[in-house]
């Protein structure tokens, strides 16, 4: 099993460590800012459209308008 190219095997050990190190750190500012670009792929539909266990909110969304008592009169 260990008869493969030793250079590739050592490289693989380093790559494994680098992979998990990079996976744990946050992406660069450039990447995070690109999330808001219009043509950028957005994945929020995964949990917004196909998510479950969304507790129904008792807050009615929309714009509220405050009516002063003077206007009523």
């Amino acid at each position: 099993m260990l008869s493969g190219n030793p250079f590739i095997l050592i490289l693989g050990i380093f790559a494994f460590g680098i992979f998990f190190y990079l996976l744990r750190i946050r992406a660069s500012k450039k990447q995070i800012e690109s999330f808001e670009q219009p043509q950028r792929m957005k994945w929020s539909w995964l949990w917004l459209r196909f998510g479950k266990n969304k507790k129904e909110s008792n807050i009615i969304e929309g714009e509220s308008e405050e009516i002063s008592e003077d206007e009523k009169k």
Binding site: A15, I18, R40, K55
Partner: protein, 263 residues
């Protein structure tokens, strides 16, 4: 007189359901959010489960282990379809994705995929000694490179990029299904798939490229979900997606190396 009399009243309510810390505790528990660390930990756990079951199918043989392997692979395929759904270009989702099921399906998925990887790896290792660890090493080399490109912001998946990649993957999937049917009918695998000609190696390189680019989508799902405060189950979903692509990449690299060695 205050204009917000009702708010004042509820705000000062003595009702324990509204005012107590119990209310706050349940609210925060229900809105548990995904973290990057959580997704990474789940990926590592899934890979550990995968390697464990792969070791079982590698080291043991016999009718019982064959049966367990078959059942495991079938269960992994079913759990993948349940979690990821099935998308077809220009039609849409035939099966809707259910990311909220990922916390229940990940273990079956990882264990089943492990059996698949174990049996495939053993077949290749028997033919070409040392090929498995080389393929594992190259898989992580490719994954680490793509991850660096993604994290640094050099690769940003746009909607067109995702559409083209998904269409190409769908095309390859159709090709593999066609090749499978051809093998069943004629009893021989098509030359382009199993041969070691330049064209066959070129096709393998193309598929490795597709698998590598698919990793970018998985990194993006994980990063965006964590950034946008997605629900906790997206940690499992992101990890499952990443492990699926790593497995695909590994198998394609394994086949590519085998083609190089058999020349």
């Amino acid at each position: 007189m205050s204009k917000h009399a009702a708010l004042d009243t509820f705000g000062k309510s003595g009702n324990p359901v509204i005012r107590s810390s119990a209310f706050n505790a349940s609210a925060s528990a229900g809105s548990e959010r995904m973290t990057l660390d959580g997704a990474v930990n789940k990926t590592a756990i899934m890979l550990a489960v995968l390697v464990s079951t792969a070791t079982i199918s590698w080291n043991f043989s016999g009718p019982l282990i064959d049966l367990v392997t078959l059942v495991g692979i079938f269960a992994a395929v079913v759990s993948s379809f349940i979690t990821f759904g099935l998308w077809i270009p220009f039609i849409g989702f035939i099966v809707n994705p259910r990311p909220y099921l990922a916390p229940r399906t990940w273990l079956i998925f990882a264990a089943g995929e492990g059996f698949l990887i174990g049996s495939i790896s053993l077949t290749f290792e028997t033919m070409f000694p040392g090929i498995v660890l080389e393929a594992v090493s190259l898989t992580f080399c490719v994954a680490a490179t793509l991850l660096f490109l993604y994290k640094s912001g050099l690769v940003k998946p746009s909607q067109n990029f995702v559409l083209m990649l998904c269409s190409a993957i769908f095309g390859i999937m159709l090709f593999y299904i066609g090749a499978f049917i051809y093998t069943l009918v004629t009893g021989t695998s098509p030359e382009i798939l199993s041969g070691s000609s330049n064209f066959s190696i070129g096709l393998s390189l193309f598929v490795v490229g597709l698998a590598a680019l698919s990793l970018v989508l998985d990194f993006d799902i994980i990063e965006q979900s964590a950034e946008r405060g997605a629900p906790k189950y997206m940690e499992y979903f992101g990890a499952m997606a990443l492990v699926t692509t790593l497995i695909w990449l590994y198998i394609e690299i394994l086949r590519l190396l085998a083609k190089f060695r058999s020349r």
